[in-house]
């Protein structure tokens, strides 16, 4: 638990409006987001919101809530007092339900009820919102934008899907803006709008028609035609979100474990963020094995025990009042176990050094006992986050 720059996370959480946690899956990203939010509410104060956009629903567990839905839920103050934590501000949580958020978005921005209903009933719309992946990334950004623009929150901590998807998440607004300003989109809906077939769209619609069939194409066209009145709004908001991500109100926390594969992904992600000129506030490494495992002195000691196991067992069995043969096996197993873990610990330490040499602020969190599933655990994790 060493932070190379003291108080980084605390400063970050006290000075930004949006903090986005990102990184590979299975490394405690969601838990880190929850801990960061909880610590901000506990020690810094203000109205803090933790928004999870990960399709897997883990945040509720970690916050001690029975369940969280699309609507913002306040974490009861009692959860903090029961865990022995102060509460200067308040903590709230929301999970992104793709379908509900889309429906709400359409209802909010549709010009009239007839258009709203036409969109909501379109079979394509139902599929886009219910089943498919990309819409999730976009709606996550819409939701973040909506929540941020209410001005109700001092800090929003956003949890993202695993790495490559988190990149999609970042690209979603730009992609949506491109999409709605696409010439092809105009070609596509042209035939539906007028009986005069736009000449330019002919080759495209012909191929599309052969592959997809006419009915499907006209469903698509009808859908986008209904959505047309809202295009400008989509493009505007998409651009606003992109600006918000890039300006000084927002910072990113890259979360990883120090295992080879997750670390490689985290490095890739940090590089991508830097390339996009987005602010990487810190890199959090979870589940780090104890330093003693890669300590050369301890390694020599383990080797000494391995070499002298029989002699040590003979000397110690008497005073310890245990069977000599069994003690001999135990000593050998202990050194074997040590060297197994030492291999992993050394590999991880080397990878960490490589990461640190690239200039990232590293915060390491030890392998905590058991999974974190309550506020006490979040407080403990938060303590490591704030230490330095």
């Amino acid at each position: 638990m060493t932070a190379t720059r003291a108080g980084t996370i605390e400063t970050l959480l006290g000075s930004r409006e949006i903090v986005v946690t990102c990184g590979p899956g299975g490394v405690g990203k969601t838990t880190s987001a929850a801990a960061a939010g909880a610590m901000a509410a506990s020690r810094i104060g203000g109205r803090v919101l933790v928004l999870t956009v990960d399709p897997a629903r883990r945040l509720a567990d970690a916050l001690g809530l029975k369940g969280i839905g699309n609507e913002v839920t306040e974490v009861p103050a009692k959860v903090f007092t029961d865990a022995g934590l102060p509460l200067k501000g308040s903590l709230h949580a929301a999970m992104l339900d793709t379908k509900q958020s889309w429906d709400a978005l359409i209802a909010r921005h549709a010009p009239d009820e007839a258009t709203r209903d036409r969109i909501l009933e379109n079979p394509l719309y139902q599929n886009i919102t219910g089943r498919f992946i990309q819409s999730h990334d976009y709606i996550a950004m819409e939701r973040l934008y909506e929540l941020h623009s209410t001005g109700e929150w001092d800090l929003i901590v956003v949890d993202t899907p695993p790495t490559r998807n988190a990149l999609d998440f970042l690209d979603a607004p730009a992609r949506m803006a491109d999409f709605f300003s696409s010439r092809l989109l105009r070609w596509l809906i042209a035939p539906a709008r007028s009986s005069l077939l736009n000449l330019a769209s002919k080759p495209f619609t012909q191929i599309a028609d052969r592959i997809l069939g006419t009915q499907f194409l006209s469903d698509i066209a009808e859908f986008f035609l209904s959505m047309q009145s809202m295009y400008e709004g989509f493009v505007d908001r998409a651009n606003a979100v992109a600006r918000l991500m890039a300006d000084e109100r927002t910072s990113f926390l890259v979360v990883s474990s120090s295992e080879t594969v997750p670390l490689r992904e985290a490095e890739f992600f940090s590089a991508e963020l830097a390339r996009r000129k987005l602010d990487v506030g810190a890199v959090i490494l979870n589940k780090v094995l104890p330093d003693a495992l890669s300590d050369p002195g301890a390694l020599a000691t383990a080797e000494a025990i391995e070499q002298r196991h029989a002699e040590l067992a003979a000397t110690l069995a008497g005073p310890m009042k245990v069977d000599e043969a069994v003690l001999d096996r135990v000593l050998l197993t202990v050194t074997e176990s040590y060297s197994d873990f030492a291999v992993v610990a050394r590999r991880e330490a080397a990878a960490r050094e490589r990461f640190a040499s690239e200039g990232a602020t590293l915060i390491t969190i030890p392998n905590l006992e058991g999974e974190i599933s309550d506020m006490t655990g979040l407080g403990q994790l938060g303590g490591y986050l704030f230490a330095g």
Binding site: P55, I211, G213, T260, P290, A298, V334, S337
Partner: protein, 316 residues
């Protein structure tokens, strides 16, 4: 009805929560089948290059890289898949860059959900139908996205009533729904969150797709260090007095070494509980157990070791 063994299937999807070793297991499974004299194509969906790294080859492309007589590796590329599709089915020859078509496709894939997924699944099913290989092992999307991918042909079927793509999704569904041909493998580690997600995913697979859940691979099991006779002796050694005695005899502080063994036993105990939770949570699905390797790196050596462990579990 007894489901066919995993090793006899021709299309095996491997999924799992990030960080559990999904790619390593997919690579090990492909290697094991190849060692068993099957012609195998390993396919990476996410194009991250992790599968190539597991075989220590340069990043694989859409055109398969030949690793041995029995094993080839490819990386999914929806644009290349579309090109192949146009050439084979519509007799539209596409040479070099497909410029406008690619652009139209990009647009269509964003506008019409499922198009990208269907090109991925379609390519895989096509290889199965043409029997170019005995088995395809797919390093598929992670748990959050696998359902959308596997359910794509069904979704297309619901949306599109006529046209070429409809007839395509029909035969794809036939292959995907046949447990003699297709199976899904979920990789997990015996830890709380991965196990919980595996149980949830198993339920969704059964509710939302027609694909058979063939097996669950439990990766990174820790070895049992102490038997019933050794455990009390270790406990005596791990007391402050016991460790002090050992340190005195060795002539150096042994606290860290004993603590490491304690960490190992605690971790193992926790993992045993999770293994039981998995057995209860997903009854009737075979669990394939793979030990923690304690390796310096991932790569070919790890892949081969995994293949050996999988062979012990899966081959007669």
């Amino acid at each position: 009805m007894a489901t066919p063994p995993l090793t006899e299937r021709s299309l095996i999807f491997v999924t799992g929560k990030g960080g559990v070793g999904k790619t390593t297991i997919a690579a090990g499974l492909a290697q094991m089948l190849a060692n068993d004299n099957k012609r195998v194509l390993a396919c990476e969906i996410d194009a991250k290059g992790d599968l190539s790294a597991a075989f220590e080859i340069a990043r694989a492309a859409f055109k398969p890289t030949v690793i041995s007589d029995h094993l080839e590796v490819m990386s999914m590329d929806t644009e290349a898949s579309l090109k192949e599709y146009l050439r084979l089915h519509l007799k539209i020859p596409v040479v070099g860059k497909i410029g406008p078509v690619a652009k139209a496709f990009d647009f269509l894939a964003t506008a019409a959900p499922g198009v990208r997924e269907i090109l991925t699944i379609g390519k895989l099913c096509w290889e199965v139908r043409e029997q170019h290989y005995d088995a395809l092992v797919v390093d598929a999307s992670a748990t959050g996205h696998i359902i959308g991918q596997l359910a794509a042909p069904q979704a297309i079927n619901d949306l599109v009533k006529v046209g070429l793509i409809r007839s395509q999704s029909d035969w794809m569904l036939e292959i995907l729904s046949d447990p003699a041909k297709t199976g899904l493998v979920i990789v997990t580690t015996p830890e709380e969150m991965p196990v919980l997600e595996t149980i949830q995913l198993s339920a969704s697979v059964r509710a939302e797709t027609t694909v058979d859940l063939a097996a669950i691979v439990v990766n990174r099991l820790l070895p049992e260090r102490f038997g019933p006779r050794e455990e009390p002796v270790f406990e005596a050694l791990a007391t402050t007095a016991g460790t002090k005695r050992l340190s005195k005899e060795v002539g150096a502080d042994t606290t860290a070494i004993v603590a490491a063994a304690r960490l190992a036993t605690t971790m193992r105990r926790g993992r045993t509980v999770q293994l039981e939770a998995l057995r209860t949570g997903v009854p009737g699905v075979p669990l394939i157990l793979v030990p923690e390797l304690f390796q310096r790196t991932d790569g070919l050596r790890a892949t081969n070791q995994i293949a050996t462990h999988l062979a012990e579990e899966l081959l007669p």
